[in-house]
C-alpha cells in the first residue's frame, strides 16, 4: 500500500558549516542509540550529518560528543 509523509519539526539540528563529516567524522551517527542520524551530501558538494528518522529520545550524546559543537538537540513543539 502507498505510504504518506508526515511533516514534523526535527529535534537534532546540525550546523553544516561546523560539521566535519567530510574529514571522516561520524561520531554523532555512531553514538545515537536510536540510529536516527545519517550522512548526506549537501548542495555544495560537501557532506553533513542530519536527522533522517523522527525517533529521537532526547538523550543528548550526539550533542555532547560532537567535536565541533555542530549538533544541537532542541525539544520540539509537541514536548513544550
Amino acid at each position: 500500500m502507498p505510504l504518506a509523509q508526515t511533516a514534523t519539526t526535527v529535534p537534532v539540528v546540525v550546523d553544516n558549516a561546523l560539521c566535519i563529516t567530510n574529514k571522516g567524522c561520524t561520531v554523532c551517527v555512531d553514538v545515537c542509540p536510536l540510529d536516527v542520524l545519517r550522512i548526506v551530501e549537501t548542495d555544495d558538494g560537501t557532506k553533513t550529518a542530519y536527522m533522517k528518522y523522527d525517533e529521537c529520545w532526547y538523550c543528548m550524546p550526539c550533542e555532547a560528543n560532537c567535536p565541533t559543537n555542530a549538533v544541537i538537540v532542541n525539544l520540539t513543539y509537541l514536548l513544550k
Binding site: 540510529d35 528518522y53 525517533e55 532526547y58 538523550c59 543528548m60 538537540v73 525539544l75 513544550k80
Partner: protein, 287 residues
C-alpha cells in the same frame, strides 16, 4: 490521582535555594538529562511554582520497579553464561548508577565464566534468520512503527492500573491480533526499519508478558499500581516473586517463588512505610 483528585504536583517552592538546586541536580543530570531543558522550554521553575507531574514522572527518585528478567546477585539469568542488567532485569530501574554497577557485577562474573570455555553451538540460527528477515521478504505491508504504536496504545489503554480483569482480557485478545498482523504482514524497506521491526516484536512480547503476569496476580497491594479492582487487598500473600516462563504451549506460564531474606534487615516499623507517607484527609484539613 487514584480518586480523580489530581493533578499531582512536585512542590519544591517552599525549600531553600541550595536544597532546590541539589534536588534539581539529581533530577536534571542524574535522572533525566533533558528535564532541565524541558522546564526551560516551558518556562517553569521549581523555585516559583508547584510543577505538574505526569504519572511516569511521579517517582522523584528512580528505583521504583524491580520486574524484569530474573537474575541472581551476579546478574546471572537462569541460562548459564547469559546475563541481564539494567532496566530489563529484576533490579532497581531507571537510574544510570544502578545499571553501571549492575553491569560491572555481570562483567566481572562473565569474565570468570568464559575462562577455558569455547563458543556454544547455536542450533536455531536458521529458524531465527527466517523470523528476523521475514519483513524484508514482502513487497508490501504494515510498517513496524504502526505495529509498535498499536501495541503501545493497547498497553497504555488496557493494561495500566487500576487493573481490571475484563479490560486486560480485551488487551490480550487484541494483542493476539496484532501478533498475527506482525508475523504475517510487517514490511520494512531498509536496515533501520528492520531494526525497528525487531524492536516492535520485542515490545509486543513485553506487552503479552505484562498482560499475562497482571492477570496471574490476584493480590491487590501497594497502592495504585497493583490495585486489582476485582480482588480485595491481600497483605498475607502478595509478598513473593511471580516467575513468568514460556509454557510448553508457547504461551506464558506462571509460578510463585519466595523472596530471599533481605541482606540489610528492615525494621518492623519500616515495612509499611509506604502507607504512612500519605497525608490523611483530616490532617490536611487541619493545616
Amino acid at each position: 490521582m487514584q480518586g480523580d483528585k489530581g493533578p499531582v504536583y512536585l512542590k519544591l517552592d517552599h525549600l531553600a535555594e541550595e536544597t532546590v538546586a541539589e534536588i534539581e541536580r539529581g533530577l536534571h543530570i542524574v535522572e533525566r538529562p533533558t528535564r532541565g531543558h524541558f522546564h526551560q522550554g516551558r518556562g517553569t521553575d521549581h523555585r516559583n511554582q508547584m510543577i505538574e507531574m505526569h504519572i511516569s514522572a511521579i517517582g522523584v527518585c528512580a528505583g521504583d520497579s524491580a520486574s524484569g528478567i530474573f537474575v541472581d546477585k551476579h546478574a546471572r539469568t537462569t541460562i548459564p553464561g547469559l546475563y541481564a542488567t539494567g532496566d530489563m532485569a529484576n533490579v532497581l530501574h531507571n537510574y544510570m548508577l544502578g545499571v553501571f554497577t549492575n553491569g560491572a557485577f555481570a562483567g566481572l562474573d562473565a569474565v570468570d565464566y568464559i575462562a577455558d570455555r569455547d563458543f556454544a553451538s547455536f542450533d536455531d540460527a536458521e529458524v531465527e534468520r527466517v523470523r528476523v528477515l521475514a519483513p524484508t521478504k514482502r513487497d508490501d505491508g504494515i510498517p513496524p512503527n504502526q505495529i509498535e504504536y498499536k501495541t503501545r496504545r493497547l498497553g497504555n489503554d488496557y493494561l495500566q492500573p487500576h487493573k481490571v480483569t475484563a479490560r486486560m482480557a480485551l488487551a490480550q485478545q487484541r494483542l493476539e491480533e496484532v501478533r498475527e498482523d506482525m508475523e504475517n504482514g510487517m514490511y520494512v524497506r531498509n536496515d533501520h526499519e528492520l531494526m525497528r521491526a525487531l524492536e516492535a516484536s520485542t515490545i509486543l512480547d513485553c506487552a503479552d508478558m505484562a498482560g499475562a503476569a497482571s492477570m496471574y496476580r490476584t493480590e491487590s497491594r501497594w497502592g495504585l499500581y497493583h490495585n486489582r479492582v476485582d480482588y480485595a487487598r491481600d497483605d498475607e500473600n502478595w509478598f513473593c516473586h511471580t516467575i513468568l516462563t514460556k509454557g510448553d504451549d508457547g504461551k506464558p506460564a506462571h509460578r510463585k517463588q519466595h523472596v530471599e531474606p533481605y541482606i540489610v534487615e528492615v525494621d518492623d516499623d519500616e515495612k509499611d512505610a509506604y502507607y504512612k507517607q500519605r497525608a490523611s484527609a483530616s490532617s490536611v484539613a487541619a493545616e
